[in-house]
């Protein structure tokens, strides 16, 4: 008992010293570098995400998703309009540059678009190429509304290596009107049926069912009269179309409304991880041991000897 009383605190001192030295074991952590590309075309202004516009909802979910990523993961940011994406920031480490990423994400605006078109399959391919060049997976946020509508030949395919990633579908399932803005950015109402193009441009091969369309004439009107009316002035999320696009490109599909957790789960399933060695500190273990030994040392004094009274 007497020996223990002297040895225990010395042992505690040794354990605490080991804890201070910071021993650790090698661990592995999976990190996924990601290029986020956000569709900023006009249909993203539709306010059908619980009252918020699709773009605002995307900003919110993405900011929260970035905040939930482990340090060491790198995130880049770009946007999509017309037929290509434009990278604003190449992937940066999120813990160092979280504020910058959040600031740039907050600065994403439909006014940045240099063209009003929204050719999603082309843009997606461009973004995938860009992501592959940056050695990152792709998170592509869009509502799937092609403007102008897809040609009769269908969307562009993908025949290259895919870096993987997620197509994040923004918007609701019910078609909603698209806000209209003037030159100075003031909202001036909604797009009407006559403001938009409802069918592909009359170029390329005609649709196979053209013969059944009104006004069809093999020489004078090979496309028929199918583009006079439609619902392209309303926008809903084209989940089926986006799932198909994602599937062809080795990507997953998730809904923006499902939040950052669903995005993370889908990303984990569809993007390769970069394994990095991490240092897991054992200091807390040694510290806890030292504390236990110290308490034992404190209690090692026999009760009668703590207060010697006859």
């Amino acid at each position: 008992m007497t020996a223990a009383r002297a040895i225990l605190p010395a042992l505690a001192a040794g354990l605490a010293l080991v804890a201070a030295a910071g021993p650790g074991i090698e661990g592995r952590r999976e990190l996924r570098d990601v290029l986020i590309v956000v569709d900023i075309t006009r249909s993203m202004n539709v306010r059908d995400m619980d009252g918020a516009s699709r773009l605002d909802a995307a900003r919110d979910v993405l900011t929260r998703w970035i905040a939930s990523q482990p340090c060491g993961a790198r995130v880049g940011l770009g946007f999509f309009t017309e037929r290509r994406s434009l990278t604003l920031i190449e992937p940066v480490e999120i813990c160092t540059d979280y504020a910058t990423l959040a600031g740039t994400l907050a600065g994403l605006d439909w006014r940045m678009a240099w063209e009003g078109d929204s050719m999603i399959s082309k843009g997606l391919n461009h973004a995938l190429n860009r992501a592959r060049g940056l050695d990152a997976a792709l998170i592509f946020v869009t509502d799937g509304q092609e403007a102008p509508p897809l040609p009769y030949s269908g969307p562009d395919g993908w025949r290259e290596d895919s870096p993987g990633g997620v197509v994040l579908g923004a918007g609701g399932d019910q078609p909603a009107p698209i806000p209209k803005f003037d030159d100075l950015g003031r909202e001036t109402g909604f797009y009407g049926p006559t403001d938009v193009q409802h069918a592909p441009a009359r170029i390329g091969a005609p649709p196979t069912d053209a013969a059944d369309r009104p006004g069809f004439h093999p020489r004078n009107n090979p496309y028929g009269e199918a583009d006079l009316e439609g619902s392209e002035h309303l926008s809903a999320m084209r989940a089926e179309y986006l799932t198909r696009l994602a599937g062809e490109r080795g990507m997953g599909f998730a809904r923006l409304s499902a939040g950052p957790a669903a995005l993370q789960a889908t990303l984990a399933a569809h993007a390769p991880a970069r394994r990095v060695a991490t240092h897991r500190s054992l200091s807390p273990v040694f510290g806890a041991l030292a504390l236990a030994v110290l308490l034992a040392a404190l209690l090692a004094t026999p009760l009668h000897a703590r207060k010697e009274t006859p």
């Binding site: 505690a12 804890a19 201070a20 540059d97």
Partner: protein, 335 residues
């Protein structure tokens, strides 16, 4: 500010009250201490303090305290700099006006390389980046983070877009410079290889911005071979309209804003470098900026302190002795 990686450990802190109840050394009874004038009052409290400090430090170490990272303000030499970059597709050509071949360097690549050098030499600048083609784009909000700036400049390597709308780009850049700081110097560096007509309403907006707050404006004009210079006054009889000579008229417009304004015409990478160096020389003023402070782990210090305390306590146990050894003699002297 101190944070804890595992705050639940702090619930064990009441343990450090134990040494107030349980003494570290075993006591030996000595009658009438008051008549014995024993000195050394400080040793007892010191031991109690050590016995309290040791578990406290260990518990704190378990909670893994750290100094929150963040940034600290300091005075440096530099400026609040907004780089306004032309992303029109013509920037991807060389100064000779061709597509880059072999060892050629495009105007965009030269600008990127020289700007990265420039930024690397100026650690105190706060830098924001805006770009423009048909539409102005906020690329990077004002930041001190060198990695973010480098990533944003590197992203400029992507092929450019269609047209040039310099007016709206200037509006965005000047707005960013305005918001950057209320007191320190602000500068906008416009890097472009061309200009366009500025719409009248944009001109008004720019004049309003210029009247509100002072911003130094630099225009680094990357002049392609064969293009007209900004300082060239057309010979009499030649047309001199904004549509035919947009660069010259942008220069005149910027001069008319009443702000400190310098234009540089560069027709080779070397000239760009000279111009950038000159801008750097002019934009060296005291600036209140922020320096990132990395998060610093403090647990090791707690453990070290605990180790020292425990060692001292062990030494106390090792030195422990009674006032007099307890060896009672027999009651009766043996006959």
């Amino acid at each position: 500010m101190i944070g804890f990686a595992w705050p639940p450990a702090l619930f064990a802190l009441p343990l450090l009250l134990l040494p107030l109840v349980i003494r570290w050394l075993r006591a030996s009874a000595v009658p009438r201490l008051d008549l014995r004038a024993v000195e050394g009052r400080a040793v007892g409290p010191l031991l109690v303090a050590l016995a309290m400090l040791a578990p406290a430090a260990l518990i704190l170490g378990l909670a893994q305290p750290y100094l929150r990272g963040g940034s600290t303000a300091y005075r440096g030499i530099g400026t609040n700099l907004v780089l306004l970059i032309d992303r029109s597709s013509s920037m991807d050509d060389t100064f000779a006006g061709r597509s880059p071949q072999g060892g050629d360097e495009s105007k965009a690549a030269a600008a990127r390389r020289i700007l990265l050098d420039f930024i690397a030499r100026r650690p105190d600048d706060r830098i924001g980046i805006a770009a423009f083609s048909t539409a102005p784009m906020l690329v990077l909000p004002m930041t001190e983070s060198r990695t973010a700036i480098a990533a944003a400049v590197a992203a400029l390597a992507e092929p450019g877009l269609s047209q040039t709308d310099v007016g709206r780009g200037l509006t965005l850049a000047m707005g960013m410079a305005h918001e950057a700081s209320a007191s320190d110097s602000r500068a906008v560096v416009l890097v472009s290889d061309g200009a366009a007509v500025i719409a009248p309403e944009v001109q008004t907006a720019l004049r309003n911005l210029a009247a509100r707050r002072q911003v130094n404006i630099y225009w680094l004009y990357l002049r392609t071979k064969g293009a007209k210079g900004i300082f060239e006054v057309p010979e009499p009889g030649q047309a001199d309209t904004p549509h035919l000579r947009p660069e010259r008229h942008l220069h005149i417009f910027l001069q008319s804003l009443g702000l400190p304004y310098h234009a540089f015409e560069a027709d080779s990478p070397g000239a760009v470098e000279d111009a950038v160096t000159e801008i750097g020389r002019m934009e060296s003023r005291p600036i209140l900026t922020r320096r990132p402070v990395p998060r610093r782990d403090l647990a090791w210090a707690c453990h070290l302190l605990a180790s020292l305390c425990c060692a001292a306590l062990a030494a106390a146990r090792w030195l422990e002795r009674r006032y007099a050894p307890r060896r009672p003699a027999p009651l009766l002297v043996p006959a």
